[in-house]
Subunit: 484 residues, 2 copies
């Protein structure tokens, strides 16, 4: 897409950036820039058009702000899913004027990072916020406690204890504006415990970027059917292991208790070793009895537990929490306790009420039922995808499809996009030089309705020519990449 030609009028009263913005917006709306297609980088486009880079950036940023483009770090700008935008602008004439659009627009985005925002209790949130602004006034507008409001920490501790078997006091909890901020803080607290981190491979790229930017040396460690290979971990110099045992991201492996014990043993073998347990979507489980968090099993104070409300409530609520082992909490108190809490006190108060009054549990129950229905639907539909194996489906809000014929993900992704469906290649989640599994795509289903899931899968069935595969019992090749 590096050959994008944008006609400009130097006589126009419209500033240049606005002309660029309008042109790209039109192209997207008309379906000439299809969903998922990559735009030229600001540098390239600036050079081609002989404009300053900031002019292009303003145009791109505006398009991102309006949801036409998505900016992906290190990768560039992509055309976003724009069905709704399109519909809003021309609700009736769509089919008439642009009969080809259904083929080129991204209608169904199986994003593994999406959540279902239709179900968010807007009225309730509004009501609680209103009450808090009515009642609390002065005290809530002052500065609060550094680790976060005590009542909120108590409410989170109670929830974590009940739901995740996390064993901690409210004093061990720190509240912060997102996991990334907590990792920044943790980086300082861990400072003396070295600079070598092991991560599951594939892994959660956002955490990888943060750890990398902090200067950690990162050891990617392969997975097998039970999670991170502790035998491989042993061979690294890592002092810290970042893991997602409840539902590995992205593979979806639920780490069984035996592997958990091996991992804890690794941590206990040497002084100063720690495990960062990112429990990012443990709220949603569909099969097997709940396994308590690693933190709850740990007797030696080696687990740092991190969780978030971004998935269970909404990404806009930038509230995450971190449970520190006592030794690290003492170090924090002594040396880093001066950092002010990064979460607005108003939202802390709203969230406290949401948790303490039982609204959160009710919301979770509703979301569990909602996601379970989608999960069951997608699994039952998979019966009609004989050429694919499903994995990672026992928990969370995404699953993986692996082609039994070894069809490459790039082909699967492109065919899907051509049909207006976005799925995600697994290989992008790998780090380092390890051999990547390239026959697997990731499908999140949280932000699609059941109807949309059915329609999206129907398109995939067509574009992937699923019916041409015989209904063999051939299983997927599990050797390379070690997917379950």
């Amino acid at each position: 897409m590096n050959d994008l030609m944008i006609p400009l009028s130097m006589e126009s009263k419209e500033p240049i950036y606005k002309q660029i913005y309008s042109y790209i917006k039109d192209e997207i709306k008309k379906g000439r820039l299809p969903c998922g297609s990559k735009l030229p980088s600001t540098r390239v486009l600036a050079r081609n058009m002989q404009l300053s880079r900031s002019t292009i950036e303003i145009a791109y940023d505006q398009l991102v702000a309006e949801g036409y483009l998505e900016a992906e770090p290190y990768r560039g700008y992509y055309v976003a899913q724009i069905e709704n935008l399109y519909m809003m602008n021309s609700p009736i004439k769509k089919a008439e004027h642009h009969p080809q659009i259904a083929e080129t627009l991204c209608l169904y985005d199986f994003s593994p990072r999406g959540i279902d925002l239709e179900q968010f209790p807007y009225r309730l949130w509004q009501k609680i916020t209103k009450n808090i602004l009515n009642d609390a006034k002065k005290e809530i507008f002052g500065s609060g406690m550094q680790k976060g409001d005590y009542e909120l920490r108590e409410a989170i501790r109670d929830y974590l204890h009940r739901a995740r078997g996390v064993n901690c006091t409210a004093e061990q909890l720190i509240i912060g504006a997102g996991n990334e901020y907590l990792l920044l803080l943790l980086h300082q607290i861990l400072g003396k415990n070295g600079v070598q981190v092991a991560m599951e491979n594939p892994t959660y790229k956002q955490a990888y970027h943060v750890l990398q930017s902090l200067g950690y040396q990162i050891y990617p460690v392969l997975m097998d059917a039970y999670g991170i290979l502790v035998s491989q971990l042993q061979k690294t110099q890592a002092e810290i292991a970042y893991v997602t045992p409840s539902h590995q991201y992205p593979l979806g492996v639920v780490m069984p208790i035996k592997r958990r014990m091996e991992l804890l043993n690794w941590a206990m073998e040497r002084e100063g070793r720690y495990i960062i347990e990112d429990d990012y979507d443990s709220e949603f489980r569909y099969k097997g009895k709940p396994i308590p968090s690693l933190q709850g099993v740990d007797q030696a104070g080696r687990v740092i537990y991190i969780g978030t409300f971004s998935r269970s409530i909404a990404p806009a609520i930038r509230v995450s929490y971190m449970v520190l082992p006592t030794a690290l909490m003492e170090r924090y108190e002594k040396e880093y306790g001066f950092y002010s809490c990064t979460v607005s006190r108003i939202e802390q108060a709203v969230l406290t009420c949401f948790l303490k009054e039982g609204y959160f549990e009710r919301h979770l129950n509703r979301m569990r039922a909602n996601y379970k229905a989608k999960h069951d639907l997608i699994l039952s539909e998979m019966q009609t995808f004989p050429g694919f194996c499903v994995s990672g489906e026992n928990a969370g809000i995404h699953l993986l499809l692996t082609s039994k014929q070894g069809i490459l993900e790039q082909k699967l992704v492109e065919q899907a996009l051509a049909g207006g469906v976005r799925v995600y290649g697994l290989s992008a989640y790998y780090i380092g030089e390890a051999k990547r599994r390239e026959d697997t795509v990731v499908l999140g289903y949280a932000n699609l309705s059941e109807q949309e899931i059915l329609q999206g899968l129907e398109i995939l069935r067509k574009v992937w020519k699923v019916d041409s595969f015989s209904r063999t019992n051939k299983s997927c090749d599990r050797k390379e990449g070690k997917i379950v």
Copy 2:
């Protein structure tokens, strides 16, 4: 206060931490633990009582949460100003039962960090929030742009341009949850520009703690009547200078344009040098024509501008902003642009409306009038404090009193506390080994009413025996510590 004896009942059904909590709370309420007095550290108290440290911490944290204690990093726990709490609990019997309390309670806290929360437009904030939760719904609950919502950045850019002469595009702005977070982010962006920072001495301790915890080597640089001594700065190895030119914290010096140019020249002398301009309370000025921000004068892209809404709106609103020079912004975009914005999108939307609809300007005008009245009142009262020189009074919401007789701040602070007034010794703001000025106290006046200011000053007049000083024209000794 290390001899605090807390009677415990092992038979009581009340947990131990609760007994400790109740005992200390009672002691404070009864005035036996006066405002400003220091509590034993959790370690010491735990040892003395043969309890675990976490038991003490729970009790202390609860007391902090309820406003009875204040935790000061590196220093310990202090009894807070509790007039209101006390009054609420026993509105009538106060004078009867505890005739001595008026002497020991801290009735008037001249905190330099307070702001006037009486004036916060609670109803308006509530109304805007309500409208936003009504209208925005889904889109506002998703993840937003990494640097912060574009509309908010535009609104801040417009304000900064108009009010502070800041010269930037919305693309150069990053919004974050507080200055400390922005310094963490900046630390990464500056990474390659070295690890040596110069700070004004005395300085804003919170920033000092952050920079120190990030591992910077810090060079304290003395001040004269015009601000940081650039001649001294030249002699350091510093690559970065952290300054508060609009109203030096805490000395209150407004840096004149000549010194600003010297400072900018220092930055331009060598590749990779930067100035961090913390414009923390530039909204409030009382004398002299407004001087634009350093950033607005800088032609070479050497100034990083940081500001906050914590003082102009409320500390609970954890919104700060940072303007990066283009070169640093490019580095950010390329390497660190993946960090999600740490401010809740709901609050971003509320703030955007507050700024764009003119409410912020109106609020600032009201606060300016409010603070100006208090400022003028305190200055006119100072006519009756012949033994003291006033400084730092031309801007901001605090000023300094220096004893012409060279009375030590410790004595001034203690005498004030005995009378129920809290003022702050200047020496605590110094860093490093430099000789500290010890005859000066800092008085903030924002969070006191005019009535309270008058009453507080009346007490100071008595306890400091101000009337015993002759109304000499002797000026303060300005040699040591270089205060204006």
